[in-house]
């Protein structure tokens, strides 16, 4: 028998299975979750782009201005921001936007010894980013993001702002560069949880040294959660073990993942042919106050810790 024969023999499976496959009762929530994720990714992408452009502008533009004015010796240091903004105008002939507010036009002004913006060469408009134009673009982007935010559930806002405000610690190497020492741990009791050595050490290190008092960076920790519970092994016996070792456990793990999501934790489910586990980004406070399910034990660690 070949694959095609088996494909055709599938015809004889139970009618019940055939009809069940088209039932959508379970799928609606999953679809919602999928579209929710799409919104989340879109919002995150916008935030990253906006952040990067703002950062690049704030760091790069002023320094280049200074550098160029130093070279030309024409632009006076006392040119105020207000003057620069006022100097922005649209040339009537070409419609090109031209400005004296950025580095390139400063350079051009030096070359041509021209102070009349209308007389400046046209080529300077293509690479220039006028101040007012940029701020309009930023405003537009902000509006788009805020529009998106209105359509996205509140959790997403939390996550977006969290990635903006927290420094994520995700590796045991954040604690030490020493060679990795493997620690042995007993399985956590049901209804209990603990942190592996390096994660625990990282939290102690960062939270102790973290100048929370002086308004500096706050930290969150990307951790893998190994969950223990009762699973049915290959012999049909029930045993207390990590949930990712059987299909039965996978289902429980998925349910627990969904529970954590519903409780507002920033978690994700890694599902490949080889691995099946939950990771999440937690603050110290969340880890301190984590509420385990009574039937499961939890071990938190960095992903590169076991």
């Amino acid at each position: 028998m070949r694959g095609k024969d088996l494909l055709e023999a599938m015809e004889y499976i139970d009618d019940e299975l055939i009809e069940e496959a088209l039932s959508n009762t379970v799928n609606n929530t999953s679809r919602l979750r999928q579209s929710y994720k799409k919104y989340m990714y879109t919002a995150a992408a916008f935030a990253v782009i906006l952040g990067m452009s703002a950062f690049a502008y704030s760091v790069f533009a002023p320094s280049k201005n200074a550098e160029m004015s130093g070279e030309s010796g024409v632009q006076t240091a006392d040119t105020s921001a207000a003057e620069v903004a006022e100097a922005t105008e649209i040339t009537e002939d070409t419609g090109d936007l031209q400005t004296a507010g950025n580095s390139q036009s400063v350079g051009m002004a030096a070359d041509s010894s021209a102070t009349d913006l209308g007389a400046q060469p046209e080529k300077n408009s293509s690479t220039d980013q006028p101040t007012s134009n940029k701020s309009e673009a930023d405003n537009a982007a902000s509006e788009e993001i805020s529009d998106l935010s209105e359509t996205i559930p509140a959790d997403t806002e939390i996550e977006k702002s969290r990635s903006d405000t927290y420094t994520i610690i995700d590796s045991r190497k954040s604690v030490t560069e020493q060679p990795y020492a493997a620690y042995c741990y007993a399985a956590p009791e049901k209804g209990e949880y603990f942190l592996h050595h390096y994660l625990d050490a990282a939290i102690k290190s960062y939270e102790t040294n973290s100048p929370a008092q002086n308004n500096a960076t706050e930290y969150a920790y990307k951790a893998k959660i190994t969950i223990f519970g009762d699973i049915i092994n290959d012999n049909g016996e029930t045993q207390y073990s990590t949930l990712n070792q059987s299909e039965d456990g996978h289902q429980k793990l998925k349910a627990e993942y969904e529970r954590l999501l519903e409780n507002g934790y920033d978690v994700s489910l890694t599902d490949t042919d080889e691995y099946y586990y939950i990771t999440g980004i937690f603050t110290k406070e969340q880890l301190d106050n984590f509420k385990p399910q009574p039937e499961y034990g939890y071990a938190f660690s960095f992903e590169d810790e076991d």
């Binding site: 028998m1 070949r2 694959g3 095609k4 024969d5 088996l6 494909l7 055709e8 023999a9 599938m10 015809e11 004889y12 499976i13 139970d14 009618d15 019940e16 299975l17 055939i18 009809e19 069940e20 496959a21 088209l22 039932s23 959508n24 379970v26 799928n27 609606n28 929530t29 999953s30 679809r31 919602l32 979750r33 999928q34 299909e247 289902q251 599902d271 490949t272 042919d273």
Partner: protein
């Protein structure tokens, strides 16, 4: 209209039986046939053949799962037409899915079919019943309805990579199940 009511129309030899069937299940049957034949006209003909066969077999039949009954007819007609058209050259979908299922066959391939297809269907059913509803839904959509990975992903609200991963695991398990059952295909 409820399935039982439609079946009753067949039993009463009402002309509305086929139109009600087409209204309720025509689209799904057409999609199923399209997945196999990739031809709108051929799929349309297979669906019409299905209505004709239903008309001729109801009565005496009174299926408990009406849609499954119709879908089996459509699948059967579609594969027959497929074999007729593609005696020399196979369509891409059937080749792809045949290759995937080849991995489930434990014994070296021999062309002789040593087991009845119905018996294989029973064993596959038994295997599927031992799996989670989500797993078997994905498997059946792939190998019974011949749906694409993308279609399954959208229908079930899970990622394509997860669908592939689930199918991979299911094929491995089915192979083990065949071996455990001592099946020689």
């Amino acid at each position: 209209m409820e399935d039982n009511a439609i079946i009753e129309l067949y039993w009463q030899r009402s002309q509305n039986a086929i139109s009600e069937t087409a209204t309720k299940y025509g689209g799904k049957l057409h999609s199923l046939s399209m997945n196999i034949l990739h031809s709108r006209e051929d799929a349309e003909e297979c669906v019409n053949d299905t209505y004709h066969a239903a008309w001729n077999t109801l009565p005496p039949q009174r299926p408990s799962f009406f849609f499954a009954y119709l879908a089996k007819l459509t699948r059967n007609f579609s594969f027959s037409r497929y074999d007729y058209y593609h005696a020399q050259k196979r369509g891409a979908t059937v080749v792809e899915l045949s290759d995937e299922l080849e991995n489930c066959i434990p014994a070296p391939n021999d062309l002789e079919q040593k087991m009845e297809s119905k018996e294989i269907g029973r064993i596959v059913s038994e295997f599927l019943h031992s799996q989670s509803p989500e797993m078997r839904r994905v498997f059946v959509r792939r190998y019974w309805y011949l749906d694409s990975i993308q279609t399954i992903s959208e229908a079930c609200g899970i990622s394509e990579s997860k669908v592939k991963s689930m199918l991979f695991r299911m094929r491995g398990k089915l192979r083990e199940h065949f071996e455990k059952e001592g099946v020689e295909l």
